[in-house]
């Protein structure tokens, strides 16, 4: 029930974002006319195929990690916790390594503009800074939670003790160290994918289409990586909050009713649950937005609808 509500809320937010950003997304589509149409369509198709490949690989890795989690109960849900991040890393690697060379016109003249393309050239600064801050927050939280954790009887740090009460699973060192490694890996894969977007050859025939494809690709990469980050960070916060709240609650011996709460642990636990839910929701929204952008066609289907026209002719000096 909660999961269904989560999905529904995610879709409602995605719909609101879609309606409010309609003008901006309309600007990410152009009409190609004249002799370049076929070449531009071929290029747009390779981009779409690559993006579908990314989604397929991400889905397969998610499924595989789910199977591993079911097959290995002794890993205490670790594969499931890492699944969004590892799936995103696999998808980003496919994204970065898939060849998407612009279809060449085979002209004897080749042009290049003299503006440097950087990994962050095709998105707003906050789109890169926010995930970077979130990644730093994940690492900081994993370290703090590691120090706050206590060992279970088998010696692994995956529970929390408040007073004389212990609860788990808690993201102590057992979950925290892989979490830190995954966050660093995700950041590296994101930077690699952004670097590939910036460094791929510029199309001299379709300057505007080339820019739009790079903007869309940057959006997909940032939404996918940030979405995965917020999803697993949200999940970790939820579990941390749940375990902390349980450990900080004193239950009556008989009917199990709540006698008292140990503060400030109970407040921290509740805060973690709320922030975790919000993070997971943000993550879900970003992942759905990345799916939408990955399947968005940069070429408008109908010519002459007022969209921008690709500069197929103007880029070829006589």
């Amino acid at each position: 029930m909660i999961f269904l509500a989560f999905i529904l809320l995610t879709l409602v937010i995605v719909a609101i974002v879609g309606v409010t950003s309609r003008k901006r997304t309309a600007a990410l589509s152009i009409t190609v006319s004249g002799t370049g149409t076929a070449a531009a369509r071929r290029f747009a198709r390779t981009i779409l195929l690559r993006n579908i490949g990314v989604l397929a690989v991400t889905g397969v890795v998610l499924g595989l990690l789910n199977l591993v989690n079911d097959a290995q109960p002794g890993w205490y849900g670790l594969p499931l916790m890492l699944a969004p991040g590892l799936a995103a890393v696999a998808g980003l690697l496919v994204f970065a390594l898939a060849p998407t060379r612009m279809v060449s016109t085979g002209s004897s003249r080749r042009s290049a503009d003299l503006l440097p393309r950087r990994p962050w050239s095709y998105g707003p600064a906050w789109g890169f800074l926010l995930p970077l801050i979130a990644a730093a927050a994940v690492i900081a939280f994993a370290i703090v939670a590691g120090f706050a954790s206590s060992p279970t009887p088998d010696g692994s740090y995956r529970s929390i003790t408040v007073g004389s009460s212990t609860s788990g699973p808690y993201p102590g060192w057992f979950y925290g160290l892989p979490l830190i490694g995954l966050t660093v890996l995700l950041a590296a894969a994101t930077l690699f994918a952004l670097g590939r977007i910036a460094s791929s050859p510029r199309s001299e025939s379709f300057g505007e289409l080339d820019r739009i494809v790079r903007v869309l690709a940057t959006r997909v990469v940032m939404q996918l990586s940030s979405g995965a980050l917020f999803l697993y960070f949200g999940g970790v916060l939820l579990f941390a909050g749940w375990a902390t709240t349980n450990a900080a609650t004193v239950f009556a011996p008989g009917d199990g009713g709540v006698v008292s709460n140990v503060q400030p642990a109970a407040f921290i636990g509740l805060s973690e649950v709320i922030v975790g839910l919000l993070m997971a929701l943000l993550g879900g929204v970003l992942v759905v937005l990345s799916l939408l952008d990955a399947t968005r066609q940069p070429l408008a289907r109908v010519a002459g609808t007022g969209n921008k026209k690709a500069d197929a002719a103007s880029a070829h000096p006589a």
Partner: protein, 120 residues
């Protein structure tokens, strides 16, 4: 924007070097402006990275560019031709076009005058 033409008798290195030098002297590339990385320019122009690197190195030797590890390759300050020189060049080109001369003929005229006025 720079262009490589396979039909040009000059090698690609010389085409890149010449166009960049012209744009720096004309002020199209401003002082301090950062140029693309060697690899970016090479993939866009479909030439070897070494070709672009050689052009950048020649421009650095000529004092038009400066390269540092942190800030990349940038246009050195004070390399732009003076306003008088550019305006004279514009007038000269307009006169040559009126006379129906092509670029090669116009450059010949410059070379002749350059040699004539060179102090001994």
């Amino acid at each position: 924007m720079i262009t490589i033409d396979d039909g040009d008798p000059r090698p690609p290195f010389e085409q890149i070097r010449g166009q960049l030098a012209d744009q720096i002297r004309a002020g199209t590339l401003a002082a301090g402006q950062r140029l693309p990385a060697v690899r970016q320019l090479a993939v866009d122009l479909r030439v070897a990275a070494g070709t672009v690197a050689r052009a950048y190195a020649a421009l650095e030797t000529a004092g038009l560019l400066t390269t540092s590890r942190g800030s990349g390759t940038r246009v050195r300050p004070d390399q732009e031709l003076g306003a008088d020189s550019r305006s004279s060049a514009r007038r000269f080109v307009q006169a040559q076009r009126r006379d129906g001369a092509n670029l090669d003929e116009a450059l010949s005229a410059v070379r002749v005058e350059w040699t004539r006025d060179t102090p001994a």
